[in-house]
Symmetry: C2
Subunit: 408 residues, 2 copies
């Protein structure tokens, strides 16, 4: 008996009709002989409605009570989906996180899963039932209700798949898989049949918001095969798996980008040990997140220090930097919030030289000036003027032949 | 440290503002030094909203899943009230029925409480916290969520008061106590300071729908002092207690009535053993509830058999009776659905003769014809033409001096 964990997000269970459609899909798999565990989110809008009620009570709602409140959203969906399945003569049973039980730490609103007791689920699966579990929630060692934070239903699904040693964990969402890049920018963008966990992490953090990053890390750690599929369109989606099961031979899997960045430069900084932390500590102190950091080799005892922040934090960071500049005796503070980051991602680049030069040459041929470069094992990112975003994405998509299906 | 259990129904917690008002009331008692446990219902309308969702999934919703669904209503209120209390610097902690835990049997949608573990509540009260418990719900021995049926929040409150040996259990509702009769019919109706459990049972079943009957029985069984008060008007409400603590000296506590009855008579029935069951069994078989039953002594070997049913069942019962009449060789089936039942209730009548004659004389003086009479230890009921309802109630209210406050 193959075991599958299916996860349906808020949009997929957003109305009575959609919950019924989910039930049909689950029933078909169950009838086909698979053991199915379904993890559901709250109906779309419900969590926000509850948070709004809480804020009318307390501007900073008590976090233990907030968890008690918002965990009801998923509980409602589990009951409704179980009813819809029963109506289709498909035996089903719902569980809250506490009932399973999904044991977490006691950090309310962003708890982490510690252990899962799969006894009842296994018994129900053996009895031929579909098991419906509330995502996003658990219970601490004292029996208090906890939640895993936004997007935590993905984490619940992956954790259950790991605990049950499921064959695959299907994340049903409103996109039908992971694409080589955003199809709204490059209509030739192609759905990937497979992608590695590491590539997925780079793609996700760069703005392809298909899956919660934590759940991808979790899946990688516990060797869970994740598949991203559409709730609304039939198809095989994208399998997120390990490098060694990768059958696609492409060097580059996709082109990611981020429009939300702004860059800041402190030039003519005295080049001495500890300078980076002196610059970044006051920025971090104000809870401003920093993405890329670049410091070039020094010339004449001074150096230029550049980093990127979220565009919303640009003015705040620039103001802080002005103070730091005086303290450090730096020459100048400059910045630009009309930039974008474009990245090529692929495990294939690890073992192949020449990827970077292909990338830079393609951009140069289109007259796109590269302002910053940053690289990791499986990613090369460049910062360019925001007006070049679409052109850069399409140029790179073509340069690495991403519109052509790979040999398999 | 005095322990009080306060219960607030759906109307009392129906809006954000009302929950805040409840928090103010609870905080005042807590500041006064009392240990307070609050039992809350779902916000008014919420349970019906959830049931409506369920019915869209299944015309006959699975009862286990229905309990999972509707129990979220009370859970939401507990979290919101705890937040409101915390906002007022009154430490508070919420619990679901399962968390307390309130152990019930496994009869979903109408479970009965078996045991309550008060360990966590006692620890919280000792730590100076207000404890907020979801009414209406519990958990069975297998960890399944159960509900106690409509009005079950009253039962939760009384059961908690019994388990905690609380000094009093306050039921906050939208009326400010139990009245000698309906003030809409007799403006001189007076709020009772005290009433016995038995009188309350007779009053409740006769239509003074202040408290759920089950919770009154429960309170009597476990010696819990119940007090009915208004959430919206200040006052001492009505204490429901034992006869021996009764300080009011009235013979009669109140006048109850029921407009929903209809009477049916089978006349000229052969008077032989087993006749009553032959008449009533087919009626009961159709799930028609019977209230009063009267059979007078027989004359010439035949008797007349009269009973009352709910007005909605009148035509159905009359049709069944027509068939029975043929089978039994009875003379005639007659009936009237334009009747009402008026009752006087009071533990005082047990030891006093003459109550019945005072009642019948008062009605006769107003020309009100009595069609049926039925009595119990603490109640005398008469059936009269419905046109006499208001006159009968006012006549009896005056005849027993109910508008005058008793000596105390």
């Amino acid at each position: 008996m193959a075991i599958y964990v299916y996860k349906f997000g808020g949009t997929s269970v957003g109305t009575i009709e959609r919950i019924k459609a989910v039930a049909e899909k689950v029933k078909a798999a169950h009838t086909g002989g698979d053991a199915i565990v379904v993890v559901v989110s709250a109906m779309s809008g419900e969590t926000n409605r509850l948070i709004d009620l809480a804020k009318q009570m307390q501007s900073q709602p008590n976090e233990r009570e907030l968890d008690v409140l918002i965990s009801t959203g998923e509980q409602v969906t589990t009951a409704l989906l179980s009813m819809a399945l029963t109506q289709l003569d498909c035996p089903a049973c719902s569980y809250t996180g506490g009932q399973v039980r999904i044991l977490t730490d006691s950090i309310h609103t962003k708890a982490r899963i510690r252990a899962i007791d799969d006894t009842r689920i296994h018994a129900d699966l053996k009895a031929g039932k579909v098991v419906v579990v509330a995502g996003f929630q658990g219970v601490d060692e004292f029996g208090n209700i906890t939640t895993l934070g936004r997007g935590g239903s993905d984490t619940t699904a992956v954790a259950l798949a790991a605990a049950l040693k499921a064959d695959e964990c299907h994340i049903y969402t409103d996109v039908d898989g992971v694409y080589t890049t955003d199809p709204r920018i490059e209509p030739k963008a192609r759905r990937l049949n497979q992608i590695t966990f590491e590539e997925m992490l780079e793609m996700a953090s760069l703005g392809s918001k298909v899956l919660q990053i934590r759940s991808v890390e979790f899946a990688g750690k516990y060797n869970v095969k994740l598949r991203v599929l559409s709730s609304f369109i039939e198809g095989n989606g994208t399998l997120i798996t390990y490098e060694d099961t990768q059958v696609e031979s492409a060097l580059i899997s996709g082109i990611a980008f981020n429009r939300d960045e702004a860059k800041l430069t402190l030039s003519g900084v005295p080049d001495m040990p500890g300078i980076a932390s002196k610059i970044l500590a006051p920025i971090a102190h104000e809870n401003i997140e920093i993405d890329m950091i670049i410091q070039n080799i020094s010339a004449k005892g001074t150096t230029d220090f550049t980093f990127t922040v979220h565009r919303n934090d640009f003015l705040k960071a620039k103001k802080i930097l002005a103070t730091i500049a005086v303290e450090l005796g730096a020459k100048e503070v400059s910045g630009d919030d009309r930039i974008v980051k474009v990245s090529i991602v692929g495990v294939g680049m690890r073992s192949h030289a020449g990827i970077a030069s292909t990338m830079f040459k393609a951009l140069a041929e289109e007259g796109i000036n590269i302002q910053m470069i940053s690289t990791s094992e499986i990613k090369i990112s460049v910062v360019v003027d925001e007006k070049y975003l679409e052109l850069a994405v399409r140029t790179l998509h073509a340069a690495f032949n991403l519109d052509e299906a790979p040999l398999s």
